[in-house]
């Protein structure tokens, strides 16, 4: 251990002597590490945002829509042929063993008025199951009840954005608002949910009982039809099984056969969302990879300067060997110097990278995320670059013939 400490002291002295050169050499590593840290932070921030949004939609979700997908990928016939019913939803819940919840919904939009405040928002007709499927807690008040649905009660739940626009900071519970001129009592305030990965504000919404929506608000000519059924599978493992069961059941119920086309579409929401999460991960890896190229360039700079240093100090090496330095002592000395250069550069680079990520977060408003892991890996990597690119010069120094080294002037 004495010699490791000694090599460290020698290396520190060598760096002190050539401060400017050491700094310029380190700059390559500093930039490389800083770029990796910042890029990974931006990438990780983006994918965390997306995965947060995905989990805000709910987990293990299937979405059943009326109409079928044509070969072009477009849904045809929706709106015109109203094929999904509230009874379909009940049957799915009752008969598909892998399904946890099934929540039918109808959807419209319209103006909402409270006092002199006025706001246009999305109006969803739902059953109490919707909040279970969406894993959406209530901040204050209560959920809709089955009795609200059965009696087509004029009660509603409102999202945070709606609450802000109608009530400001006042408590909305128990207040009467007019949706499409019909008075409704606010019975619950939904918790904050944020944006979907597609950028929609999920808090800009009002939930009313599905029956009320069908009969009084949206005025559909097919009173029993629903716009979509959201289904939550019992677990991630049975998600695709649930998909099959639902498809099978609906085929039976809709008498799909040789003479009748499939008139519904089952989509695996979780899968679709996972793809966007995946692509953001690939993106952040790509950013990291591009940034690490600059690290390699920095490493080559280290190698270059170490080779110069070995040549400059040939005489010194000769003297050291003559008084008893072993090859591994010389090797260790130059390796230590290279690793010291890169780890110092690494530490500065990490700090610069963190600062850069914070700056991006502040100025551009992108979310960034610096994890302890990234920092540790970056540090280990900078040391690794020192070992890798310092090895050849160090070996060259250790292999010098002492006689040639002593003759050198």
């Amino acid at each position: 251990m004495t010699t490791l400490l000694q090599s460290l002291l020698i290396a520190l002295r060598a760096l002190r002597v050539n401060k400017m050169r050491a700094l310029l050499t380190m700059l390559g590593i500093i930039i490389g590490i800083a770029a990796v840290i910042a890029m990974v932070a931006i990438g990780a921030g983006a994918s965390k945002m997306i995965s947060d949004q995905i989990s805000s939609i709910g987990s293990n979700l299937l979405l059943v829509l009326p109409g079928s997908i044509t070969s072009g990928g477009m849904r045809s016939g929706s709106g015109a042929i109203i094929t999904l019913t509230y009874d379909d939803a009940k049957a799915i819940k009752a008969e598909c063993p892998s399904v946890g919840q099934a929540a039918p919904t109808v959807r419209g939009s319209g103006p909402v008025v409270y006092g002199n405040q006025n706001w246009t928002t999305v109006i969803n007709g739902v059953t109490p199951e919707m909040l279970l499927v969406r894993e959406w807690p209530i901040e204050s008040g209560r959920n809709l009840l089955q009795s609200d649905v059965d009696g087509a009660a004029k009660n509603c739940l409102i999202g945070q954005t709606v609450a802000e626009n109608l009530f400001g900071s006042a408590d909305p519970i128990g207040k009467i608002i007019r949706i499409r001129k019909i008075p409704f009592t606010v019975i619950g305030l939904l918790a904050h949910k944020g944006q979907t990965p597609q950028g929609q504000d999920q808090d800009d919404v009002i939930y009313v009982p599905i029956s009320t929506a069908q009969r009084k608000l949206l005025g559909s000519q097919f009173p029993n039809s629903v716009g979509a059924i959201m289904i939550q599978a019992k677990s991630a493992e049975v998600l695709s099984k649930a998909e099959e069961e639902v498809t099978e059941l609906l085929k039976q119920r809709h008498r799909v056969g040789p003479t009748r086309e499939i008139d519904f579409t089952v989509r695996n929401l979780t899968e679709i969302l996972a793809v966007s999460e995946q692509s953001s991960k690939v993106m952040s890896m790509l950013l990291g990879a591009v940034a690490s190229i600059s690290l390699v360039v920095g490493g080559i700079g280290i190698m270059n300067i170490m080779l110069v240093s070995v040549t400059e100090r040939t005489r010194e090496i000769g003297i050291r060997v003559a008084i008893g330095a072993k090859r591994r002592d010389i090797m260790l000395q130059f390796l230590t110097e290279a690793v010291l250069l890169t780890t110092l550069g690494g530490i500065v680079g990490i700090l610069v990278g963190i600062a850069g990520a914070a700056l991006v977060a502040n100025l551009v408003g992108w979310p960034t995320l610096v994890s302890i892991n990234t920092v540790a890996i970056a540090f280990a990597f900078s040391a690794g670059v020192g070992v890798f690119f310092g090895f050849y010069p160090a070996r060259k120094a250790a292999a010098l013939n002492p006689i040639d080294a002593l003759r050198y002037e």
Binding site: T2, T3, Q6, R13, V17, R315, E316, I319, R320, V321, A322, I323, G324, A325, K326, R327, D329, P402, I403, L406, E409
Partner: protein, 240 residues
């Protein structure tokens, strides 16, 4: 008298492309404990090659070299490094010291490679510096010392591990006459204390301070004579 060094028919051939340079053509001699030997000869006669062999920096093409009875030719790199570290002390013509390093640190260097603990290193380095008359200069950097002082530091470094021999290749080559006498006085003093010294020199005046003259010509020894009445080196003033 105990034998410290023994060369038997040592040859050294350098191959430079097609050309063979025979730097040593069968050199044999031995040096006993406490001798003070001057190796002389014209430029290119093989003096440095012989010293490098004695110093275990180079291995002979053929022949045997025994250092205190140990056959050196069969040893590994690491064993040779240990011999250089423990049993030999080197003084070169110039550029002996590491730049930007203090006198004490230079003297400590063999102890560092000998894995001696730091506290002991410091004490032994200070003792060695006192022995060469440089007490009080231990904190000076190499470039803050005169040529003569630098050679003294180099000698202190050669001494610090209590070696069997000190090998010096033209140690006074870069020095003026007065400083040369000072250094030779130091060598004589150390030799009186029982240290074996082998040094290369061009100058008969310098050789006159030693007890034995070995003369090389074209890679072979042409004369090997004792100097029964060495001149006593008396420095004009105290160490400058």
């Amino acid at each position: 008298m105990r034998e410290v060094v023994r060369l038997e028919e040592v040859r050294k051939v350098y191959l430079m492309g097609e050309e063979r340079v025979e730097a040593l053509k069968g050199v044999s001699f031995s040096v006993g404990e406490g001798e003070f030997v001057a190796i002389m000869g014209a430029s290119g006669s093989g003096k440095s090659t012989c010293m490098n062999t004695l110093g275990c920096l180079d291995t002979p093409t053929s022949g045997r070299y025994l250092l205190e009875g140990t056959e050196v030719g069969t040893l590994s790199h690491n064993e040779l490094a240990e011999i250089r570290n423990r049993r030999l002390g080197f003084v070169f013509q110039g550029f002996n010291l590491l730049p930007r390093t203090t006198a004490r640190e230079n003297v400590e260097l063999p102890l560092v490679y000998g894995r001696v603990p730091a506290a002991q290193r410091r004490e032994r380095a200070l003792q060695a510096l006192a022995r060469v008359g440089l007490s009080g200069r231990e904190g000076h950097y190499s470039n803050q010392l005169s040529g003569g002082q630098q050679q003294r530091v180099a000698i202190a470094r050669a001494l610090v591990n209590e070696p069997a021999i000190i090998l010096a290749d033209e140690p006074t080559g870069n020095l003026d006459t007065r400083t040369t006498v000072e250094i030779m006085a130091l060598f004589q003093e150390l030799n009186r204390q029982g240290i074996t010294i082998i040094m290369v020199t061009h100058e008969p005046d310098v050789a006159a301070f030693t007890t034995r003259h070995i003369v090389f010509r074209d890679g072979a020894i042409v004369s090997d004579l004792a100097n029964p009445a060495p001149v006593r080196a008396v420095p004009k003033t105290e160490a400058a």
